[in-house]
Symmetry: C2
Subunit: 230 residues, 2 copies
């Protein structure tokens, strides 16, 4: 199962910094032309289909990137602080957001004018190449998630998400989840009831421990095995 080790929930690509590749002059240009905005929990940062005037950099918080659907949305990634968002809107012509983004927790976003960003791409090839790297890393993760959601059944999908949250977002086998079971059901493309049932299965099998919002992964090898078997 080649994709079992690939992250299936997050865009954590942007630990690849890109701004350090800019000249001092270019950095200053970005600093002078960008602004930061605060969002409360649950607010929408950008809306699918709307005109993309900015590239966004998440300075603080946790957000979801999702395609709006009826009746259910498809969550593409969870993105923690330190990451660029909206890069897929970079086109030569006018561009629109492919997805909506809203916050799980209180967040701070730096808005970088997309024209200035494009200008940097055209002026600074190393910067452009770095952005290509970031886009490709993001695509790689997107494929991992794609595979998980289309080829695995419920237990495998939930195992994937728990492992990914633990490894990529919280970097600990024990963490406080700021997501509801309903959020998890969106993430795994399953019903809320199924999330609850499978969480209970995992708990009964001593694979995880749940205390209210706190989750501890007790048996990661078994989660990996469940993920691999699908």
């Amino acid at each position: 199962m080649p994709y079992s080790s690939v992250s299936t929930c997050v865009s954590f690509v942007y630990e690849l910094t890109c701004f350090d590749l800019l000249t001092d002059e270019e950095k200053e240009l970005v600093a002078n032309t960008s602004v930061t905005v605060n969002y409360k929990k649950g607010e929408t940062i950008c809306k699918q289909g709307s005109f993309a005037s900015h590239i966004m950099y998440l300075e603080k918080g946790l957000v979801k990137v999702y395609i709006e659907g009826n009746p259910k949305d498809l969550i593409l990634t969870i993105t923690p602080k330190g990451n660029l968002m909206g890069l897929q809107a970079l086109y030569e012509g006018n561009s629109i957001f492919l997805y909506s983004i809203s916050t799980y927790t209180e967040s701070t976003v730096r808005l970088i004018d997309i024209q200035i960003f494009k200008q940097l791409l055209r002026k600074n090839p190393n910067f452009a190449f770095r952005i290509i790297n970031i886009l490709n890393e993001s695509t790689s993760q997107s494929y991992g998630r794609f595979f998980s959601l289309t080829q695995k059944q419920l237990h495998g999908r939930l195992a994937d998400i728990l492992l990914c949250l633990s490894r990529k977002i919280f970097k600990s086998e024990s963490f406080d989840l700021p997501l509801t079971r309903s959020d998890l059901s969106d993430l795994t493309s399953m019903s809320t009831e199924s999330v609850i049932r499978i969480m209970k299965d995992f708990k009964d099998d001593k694979i995880i421990e749940i205390d209210n919002k706190s989750i501890t992964l007790l048996d990661i090898p078994r989660l990996d095995s469940i993920s691999a078997r699908g």
Copy 2:
């Protein structure tokens, strides 16, 4: 249903030409350092997980780009001639293919050394920006397919694929399918039997006409409606 109009099967992004942005000198470099290779029907062009030494340009044929899974593969896109493949392997360090590619029909591929391609990206910012465009267009289509496969049920998924084949690949409402029902089942993430049954449903409802390998879309508005309803 916002993604109903998005293509759900093909990477047809590369009608955006990129080579015309190269200088004559750069074009010559590509011409002198690349080779073409012929593949028979069913052959593998590149293998997921292997070292990516080349970017590939499909000069002739029809191929599938897919993630290998057990027991079923996940087809990411169908790609017709005139398109670049393997761009997602562009990394600053050594890179591996995220997916395998194999041919549906006899195909010809131009292999462009990945180091030379990277060199072009670093030297020619307009070229690099065009590649970003192509990658983003590809991602956009990938999301459309992602949405289709995860949020729609069988009839909607098959309608999506038939519409996409008609509009993007064959550019006609009548075409000879070089794919088997089993290929279609891989494309739609359903069982072969389900493909056959739903094709029959569509045929009985006079939505499509099937004569052996030849398919004609008789009622495209209804297919659109089935696609939109999921």
